[in-house]
Symmetry: C2
Subunit: 489 residues, 2 copies
């Protein structure tokens, strides 16, 4: 209930009768939108008690409101604010009258944004996304069960009252094991932080490194939200080509020779958007450059967990980099759950400073959720899920590759990625993708397409074809619809 | 399993026998910490297949490792890396040898930190905290039940695959209703953002407003993490006194006359740390100042939901402020759950820019969790919880007030707060609180105490006595222990 005692101030010595003061106060509360059409006024007995008035005074005030059509008596429910008052248009609440207009009365610092808003459109039943996991495989029941089991423990309260900016200690310990077992990372818990996802890790690391005007090397093209983050922090982006073997490390070295470089951002596995993996040879060379120039690197390895060759290449972070590589990853994509949990790996003192900054942005994560994830890493649930999903996605990659080659081979070319959840389709330049997207939407398919892949670089004509979330039948349907759509262009 | 195929490179034309190459490569992997003491090497058959070797070669390599004591054969499990090698000390993993030393090889941007680390100590069974809810009252079962029910819906997948920086739309709509019903806020969903808690709201708002050198007015004392956030963003803090009626608004106006003020940060209900509430008179005056000087304000109302007088005063944000008041709050404290969900209210275009910035920091929240909270707001679960908790906490405030007055009245003075979860105890300056904290710790009580309350201002001698998490018996025990502790000083 609204604090009517504060809202309805009565001047007992005033010239206006008290019932009218009450009625008029209600009218302005309704006019101002504090009491909304369809809401009920408090019962007359209750209001009389709150305002220390005789009940008859309140009844008189309500009668006055009803006679003016501000309220309507509803049997057994009381006085309802009328919904059809000409004075009360819903837009009024958002319009000039009310406290929050469209524009803030003060000026804001700029935030870089993508030039083209993502083309949303109506989401069809069948969706070729940008490279997301299949939530039908997500260990959802295990997840809820783990949370339930935690709150039934006698010590459950400690998961509810505490949060630390570095994350749950148990999860940090399990993360160390997990990264050691899967990637050969040689770290201790003090090198880790549990974040809200890879994006927060990138932001934190970049905010600790970048000052206005600093040079940051990124790929061309590059993951656009990383670009925007660096620009937001004042960086000057220097772009080097990304080809089939990943980022051009010779070009990186040329830049290091010419300028003081503050940071290199690299996606070593399944680059976003192009899906290429940095070759072993370039890795060795890049490690040399990193050591030689003491080059700080953010290695974004958001997609490492899904690899389809027998021998994935370990990340740069697992090799000899002299402490220069800040390693960033996520469980969000690996698990296909809604939870957003990522991590960051760096030297101990870096992590301490990152924790101080993260505390100001966010205090810390959800301790219960982090504990649940730690238990699922420990008891092997996550490992089993990854193994299972890996197998399914590898099959889907192969199926998608076959279908795309057979049915769309005349219009698209691609390299099957070594891992990850998407195929980067280079589309015949004569074919207008935006028109294709509209065409297939009419046939029940949402085809993910974004101009943003070319943020800051020369636009190309490609589709990031996420195959992981579609089973064999759905992949067949999707490719067939695209084939038909091309025919209609 | 580690990617042995990448890690163990064999030179088939080399001078060393292949089994020795394999063994030596394992030794360096163990030395480098990539394979840890107690870990198992892959079965010989599996490794042979991975490396395309004869199995006998692998067996010979493993025998060599065993004869050098690097590994120990364990019946039915295979080859375990020895745990007692003199060459392998656990610290080696963290020490100079390994990739991540203590210090990053590059320089970092500074992050302001609190001068005194929080005195942690061993947590005793009985804890007087800083003002946290009682998790024993938290709607935990309802919460898990709601999440379970969501994932059993046919459309569950949409909660798992999407996230937006402004938050779940259903929760935004329910938030509008909730804030209108409880605080008379007159807003539309476009004025809202769902954040990770009040701290993130403060950070986002401040980052959009503050440029290096800008003047920001804060209370003296003030919530220290807000101070640090503004300083992190380059602000110059101007402090005005906080007395029993809240922040000194005349002092605010004096500053506005003299300087261009970028931002005022105010906690209008149950100020942190002093628990005072801004008086109605000062509110009116402050609103005038806000309109007159077009003063941007962050109103941090983290604790509004718990008020113990019949008529809580509505926030500044509910009054006529010309769109200048950015309103910040949280469900984390209200619910006593581990989930960290807060909100921010501001003009529509401000929120759009805030969303662009939040995307770079965090992409967005946990959509499933936000949907669950929306449902719990809609079905009244949250409302019922707040009503129940309010009643319990009001009783506890009164009990705590009585006990403190009767048993500690000679040593402490305080004003019973109108709401919130803590009493601000002014302690006799002759009494050394740090010594008292140590004394009562020996008697099984953790007494929250922090030097940080005086960050940036003249140190005082006070304890923030959180009463909400303790029932009558526990409050009695806590106060008795403090009484005894004082006797022993």
């Amino acid at each position: 209930m609204l604090p009517y005692k504060s809202l309805i101030k009565i001047d007992r010595k005033g010239r206006q009768p008290i019932y009218l003061q009450v009625a008029n106060r209600f009218i302005s509360l309704i006019r101002d939108g504090l009491i909304r059409p369809g809401a009920y006024l408090p019962g007359s007995r209750i209001l009389a008690e709150m305002l220390v008035l005789h009940r008859k005074t309140v009844v008189a005030a309500y009668d006055e409101l009803a006679s003016q059509d501000w309220v309507v008596p509803v049997p057994r429910k009381g006085m309802m604010v009328a919904t059809n008052l000409p004075q009360i248009k819903p837009r009024t609440f958002a319009g000039a009258q009310h406290a929050y207009g469209q524009d803030p009365p003060f000026t804001l610092n700029p935030v870089p944004e993508l030039p083209h808003p993502r083309t949303a459109g109506k989401r069809q039943k069948l969706v070729v996304n940008d490279g997301f996991p299949d939530v039908r495989l997500a260990p959802l029941d295990e997840w809820i069960r783990e949370c339930r089991s935690l709150i039934q423990q006698p010590s459950y309260h400690r998961y509810l009252t505490t949060t630390t900016p570095s994350g749950n200690d148990h999860l940090r310990a399990q993360l160390v094991r997990h990264l050691s077992a899967t990637r050969g990372l040689n770290i201790i818990p003090e090198n880790t932080m549990i974040t809200r996802g890879a994006q927060m890790s990138i932001y934190l690391a970049a905010a600790l490194l970048i000052s206005k005007g600093d040079h940051v090397i990124v790929g061309s093209p590059n993951y656009y939200f990383a670009d925007l983050t660096f620009e937001q922090l004042g960086a000057n982006l220097l772009r080097v080509p990304v080809d089939k073997d990943g980022i051009d490390v010779d070009a990186v070295e040329q830049l290091c020779k010419k300028k003081k470089i503050k940071l290199l951002y690299v996606i070593s596995h399944h680059h976003h958007p192009t899906t290429v993996t940095l070759s072993a040879e370039r890795r060795m060379k890049l490690l040399e450059i990193i050591r030689k120039y003491n080059l700080a690197v953010i290695e974004d390895d958001y997609d490492y967990d899904f690899y389809y060759s027998a021998a994935p290449i370990v990340p740069l972070a697992s090799a000899d980099h002299g402490g220069n590589v800040i390693y960033v990853g996520s469980f969000t994509k690996s698990l296909g759950l809604s939870l957003r949990i990522g991590f960051m790996i760096a030297p101990e003192k870096f992590m301490q400073q990152a924790a101080a900054l993260r505390r100001l942005m966010d205090l810390g994560g959800d301790n219960l959720v982090e504990e649940a994830l730690a238990n699922m890493l420990k008891d092997g649930t996550i490992g089993r899920h990854l193994k299972k999903a890996n197998k399914v996605y590898r099959e889907r990659r192969d199926i998608a590759g076959d279908l795309l080659q057979k049915q769309l081979g005349d219009y698209v070319s691609f390299q099957l990625p070594q891992g990850g959840m998407a195929i980067w389709l280079q589309v015949d330049p004569k074919l207008k993708i935006q028109r294709l997207v509209e065409e297939v939407a009419g046939m029940g398919l949402t085809l993910n397409y974004s101009y943003q892949y070319y943020y800051g670089t020369k636009p190309g004509n490609a589709i990031r074809f996420g195959f992981a979330a579609l089973n064999q039948r759905e992949l067949g349907q999707a490719v067939t619809i695209i084939r038909k759509g091309i025919g209609r262009l």
